[in-house]
Symmetry: C2
Subunit: 168 residues, 2 copies
DNA sequence: TCAAAGTTTCAATAATTAGTGAAAGTTATT
DNA sequence: AATAACTTTCACTAATTATTGAAACTTTGA
């Protein structure tokens, strides 16, 4: 396989994975493009490489910056903005996990806590089932939460090590 | 908060989380409905509870069965099919992880393996960056893969224990 | 074998989400 | 302060994804 074909395939695959995880395809593709770019790219270059409009490129790059996956750079003597991606995959993984925790898990835990104080008759099976389900999901969510906190603090090898150690 | 209001909120929250993770909202809501149902429900009851069409209810229930989250049940003397959800959250989490691994991570690893054999000139920075990025993502993906395999085999407390132990 | 009860399919439609591009806004330079 | 280079916004349109509902299909029992 030739390099350009491979780059293309990588961008497609990353886009597909992204869309399966609720991240818009273009955003994942721009991220992929920057991941395999050996130097920072301008908005123009991103537009060109992925055949997308200026508006789309701009918003997508901004979103990637919000997610902490991409940064702006200025080259001395030039007005144009250049964009480059964090390339350390462990940092990327932590960053994504952190953002999603903030946007999704934290609000979910808040709702679950509200729901677990609902009062009712312990003899009512509808109440009992509700209570049990919510309590159990709440416990799981809190464990995930703690697991993520560990991940954020951890070095990569340390993290995986702690998972694998026990399960040879 | 009253039980019915709480049930409603739970269904909405679960639907929202689902859609943020690339799972169609209705599917997540039907799952939520069955999770807090104290007895198996018929297609009619699902349609009624969530105001969705027969076709939608049918397809969604089938999808949930494909995901291994819901099962059919027949009551003796009745022709109707009843549906109920697995309620053990650890089993649910494993099941979801397993399905997504099969559908997404495994194909991704396959692509990454294909891409990592691309040949090129080590002095070409475009080639070097591509190679490095793909290799690193590949390593991460394989660690996630191993981590999931551990999870599938593990008991819940054992799994979390192994993560928390190291990070007090 | 027929018809009633129930289930599934799928073309048509609706709802949602993503993308465009031109206009407005901003910033740096002369 | 005027202009040119560049960035951002947002109303409109396109593309995608989800849902409906009626027709086709299947199963059961009389």
């Amino acid at each position: 396989m030739e390099l350009n074909e491979a780059r293309q395939k990588f961008i497609e695959a990353w886009g597909k994975i992204g869309s399966e995880w609720g991240i818009n395809r273009t955003m994942a593709q721009v991220h992929a493009l920057l991941l395999i770019a050996h130097e920072p790219l301008t908005t123009e270059q991103v537009m060109e490489a992925l055949s997308i409009s200026r508006g789309n490129a701009n918003m997508t790059l901004r979103d990637l910056i919000d997610w902490g996956l991409v940064e702006k750079q200025h080259k001395p003597g030039e007005r144009k903005e250049y964009f480059f991606a964090e390339k350390d995959t462990w940092k990327i993984a932590k960053q994504v996990a952190q953002e999603r925790k903030k946007r999704e898990l934290d609000p979910m835990i808040k709702v679950l806590n509200e729901l677990s104080v609902v009062k009712g008759d312990d003899k009512d099976p509808a109440y009992k089932t509700f209570k049990t389900s919510v309590t159990n999901i709440n416990k799981l969510a809190k464990n995930v939460n703690k697991g993520l906190e560990s991940m954020f603090k951890a070095e990569e090898s340390w993290f995986w090590g702690s998972i694998f150690k026990v399960f040879k």
